[in-house]
């Protein structure tokens, strides 16, 4: 087996793990990392995105529009959830755990009752390509590009737009922002919707590759929290390097010893990073800068 094949296969596996970690985590990075709301219903926003995507594709929409629909519906659900539940709990972070956990149970069981135990899949588009002895799925490359796109988009949104500046100001010093005339309630609501929409996007993107069941969100949640916890508070400077570090650990361990060790490696890496860098990777990077 030649070197190029090995290198490509390692890069592909890294990209695949990176995409899964980043896409699972970016919605949570906004809601938990930035806003500080421990959102245990994150997986259910992902499930919502996946279900809406699959349903619209079954109804005849092309997949990209289906994914867009999944993203938008999740964001709208996010607005509703923020308005009804989360808004009243911003200064009670521990209570949000219970509230969002309850929401997640309601969403899972509600979906089971309303839609049934499974939903027909939509099939992965694009087919495969061959490098050396291995064949690969093209859609996995699309996922990797989508993950990069989301990271760049988030960086641009929070650093270059007026909304981004207001959102960061509101979350850092809400009273000051309010005194300067910012509608902080609206900003909170939109930021939460942004996080929920990103979760929906992850669900929509992964919908063609996975089993669509009410509990599917649970398979994202560990990776999402792990990435956000070691990433720290900054959406871009945290999630991107955290995704990269964990993807290396996970793909190397998995190719060496199998899936079980991939998961063990992931958790050990988290323990080490949290011990050494209590404020996460972005805390470390930002402190170096100032």
């Amino acid at each position: 087996m030649d070197i190029a094949t090995l290198v490509f296969s390692a890069l592909y596996q890294f990209g695949d793990a990176f995409a899964f970690l980043v896409l699972s985590a970016c919605g949570l990075a906004v809601i938990f990392g930035m806003m500080g709301v421990i959102n245990l219903a994150h997986g259910e926003f992902i499930m919502c995105g996946a279900y809406v995507t699959a349903a619209t594709v079954h109804a005849g929409l092309p997949l990209p529009l289906g994914i867009l629909a999944g993203t938008i519906v999740s964001a709208l659900v996010g607005v509703l959830v923020e308005l009804v539940v989360i808004r009243h709990l911003y200064d009670r972070p521990l209570d949000t755990i219970v509230a969002t956990w309850g929401l997640s149970l309601i969403a899972t069981q509600g979906t089971l009752i309303m839609v049934g135990s499974t939903m027909a899949g939509v099939g992965t588009p694009f087919g495969s390509f061959q490098v050396g002895a291995y064949s690969y799925s093209i859609y996995r490359i699309v996922l990797f590009c989508a993950a990069l796109g989301v990271l760049v988009g988030l960086y641009a949104l929070f650093n270059w737009t007026r909304f981004g500046v207001l959102a960061r100001a509101t979350i850092q010093v809400p009273h000051m922002a309010a005194a300067l005339g910012v509608d902080t309630r609206l900003v909170y609501s939109l930021t939460f919707a942004c996080g929920a929409g990103l979760a929906g996007l992850a669900g929509g993107l992964y919908a063609p590759t996975m089993t669509l069941v009410p509990t599917m969100g649970a398979t994202f949640i560990m990776e999402a929290f792990v990435t956000v916890v070691i990433g720290g508070a900054d959406v871009f400077l945290g999630t991107a390097p955290a995704g990269a570090v964990l993807a290396v650990v996970k793909s190397v361990m998995t190719s060496w010893q199998g899936q079980l060790f991939g998961q063990i490696g992931l958790l050990v890496a988290v323990i080490i990073v949290v011990r050494v860098l209590p404020k996460g990777i972005s805390g470390f990077v930002l402190r170096e800068r100032t």
């Binding site: 089971l112 027909a120 064949s135 599917m216």
Partner: protein
């Protein structure tokens, strides 16, 4: 929309009306209580809701026809939520508080092993209506599902003859997957083949890129997929999109999780499954059962092998109680010891083996085509669950209440 709402209402009402529905039909004062502990939510729900429905169907039929010895069956059902600790809680509850005569319980082998000591402790009587890795030698249990000597000793030699002798196993990482993989290893070796590789996947894992590559690296002739739960079922879609294009063999897919209905063709192309029942089986008995099932549960997505196992188990229980004229476990086991507890089930004739209290089956080899249609290249009739008996388990003489495997057989006397 109205269809899904109706379905929702029905499902919402389900748990509440189980007891009512069956006991109103016959208002006798002394019903036979049948506990039902199955996963109606959680990771396994897709494969197991049909078991509950099958039990309801059989109960309704039996109660309409006069019950068991004139006594109606009353179902006491709890949702075990695909959670092993729930099984333990509810098993104590049905045995101690509800005082049921018999319990039908369990999908995953982990949950069965979680509740089995409780059944033994309280001298209960349980049916495990599920295919599994085999080896449970326990007088408190009756197993109506198929076991490895029925599913693998038919399937693996067929696959090796057709595709080649290099075998790769991809299995769920818990007792079912590990012990089933041990069986595959044993049968492959006995037939002169070799294992190209093995990987065990933790339950709940849904991303398989690296596993797919490991399989391509090992270049097997076919892959034995023993993946369990809905998360792991994502493998097929991902393998198909990476163009792995290897034939697959399984004892759990299609017959349990109807993956050929859930995924878009051709992701399950060339999947071979040995099962004792699936709804596509084209016999008058099977069609009759399927029609009855669909009449009662029109929106049931699939009638799988565990639904049939559960359905026939209620009838087997009826027969045993009526012959023993008692619901006591000791009396029923005397009937089983006669060795002629048989019935004409939807799959064909089945009998309980007195030594192991497992069941003989008709085993169908189901092949999934490129368009996900099912064909049956081969059928084996009356395959007995012989391994436990041959290995030395004889429940008519001694009840060790243990699980054995090929590498850990019953102790020789």
């Amino acid at each position: 929309m109205s269809k899904s709402v109706l379905r929702g209402l029905r499902a919402a009402a389900l748990t509440g009306t189980l007891v009512l529905g069956s006991s109103l039909a016959l208002a006798a004062e002394n019903p036979i209580k049948l506990g039902v502990l199955e996963d109606q939510s959680g990771d396994f729900a897709a494969a197991t809701i049909g078991k509950v429905h099958a039990i309801q169907l059989a109960t309704e039929e039996i109660n309409k026809a006069g019950g068991i010895m004139g006594r109606p069956i009353e179902l006491v059902a709890y949702d075990t939520q695909s959670d092993n600790t729930r099984y333990q809680e509810f098993m104590r509850r049905v045995l101690q508080r509800d005082k049921v005569d018999v319990v039908f319980a369990g999908f995953s082998s982990a949950s069965r092993e979680a509740y089995r000591p409780i059944v033994d402790q309280f001298n209960g009587f349980a049916f495990y209506n599920n295919q599994y890795e085999g080896g449970v030698c326990d007088g408190h249990m009756i197993v109506t599902g198929a076991v490895p000597e029925q599913q693998f000793s038919t399937l693996i030699p067929y696959m090796m003859e057709k595709y080649g002798k290099n075998v790769y196993t991809l299995a769920a990482d818990y007792n079912f997957g590990q012990i089933s993989a041990e069986w595959v290893r044993k049968i492959v070796k006995e037939n002169g083949g070799k294992m190209a590789g093995e990987e065990f996947i933790p339950l709940g894992v849904s991303q398989f890129s690296q596993s797919i590559q490991n399989i391509q690296k090992a270049k097997p002739d076919f892959v034995v997929t023993l993946l369990v739960g809905t998360a792991q079922a994502s493998y097929y879609e991902q393998a198909a999109s990476a163009n792995v294009n290897l034939p697959m063999a399984s004892s759990v897919n299609v017959g349990q999780g109807y993956e050929h209905k859930r995924f878009k063709p051709p992701s399950l192309k060339d999947m071979y499954v040995t099962t004792n029942y699936i709804e596509e089986i084209d016999s008058p008995k099977s069609k009759e059962f399927y029609a009855k099932f669909k009449a009662k549960f029109p929106s049931e997505p699939y009638v799988n092998q565990e639904a049939e196992n559960s359905y026939l188990a209620v009838y087997l229980y009826k027969q045993m109680v009526e012959r023993a004229k008692s619901t006591k476990r000791e009396d029923i086991r005397k009937v089983i010891a006669l060795g002629d507890v048989c019935m004409d089930a939807p799959e064909g004739k089945v009998c309980i083996d007195p030594k192991s209290q497992h069941m003989s089956h008709t085993i169908y080899l189901a092949k999934v085509g490129a368009d996900h249609s099912i064909s049956f290249p081969k059928t084996w009739e009356d395959i007995k669950p012989y391994w436990l008996g041959e290995a030395g388990c004889d429940l008519t003489k001694k009840d060790p209440m243990a699980q054995y495997t090929p590498s850990n057989p019953p102790p020789k006397p």
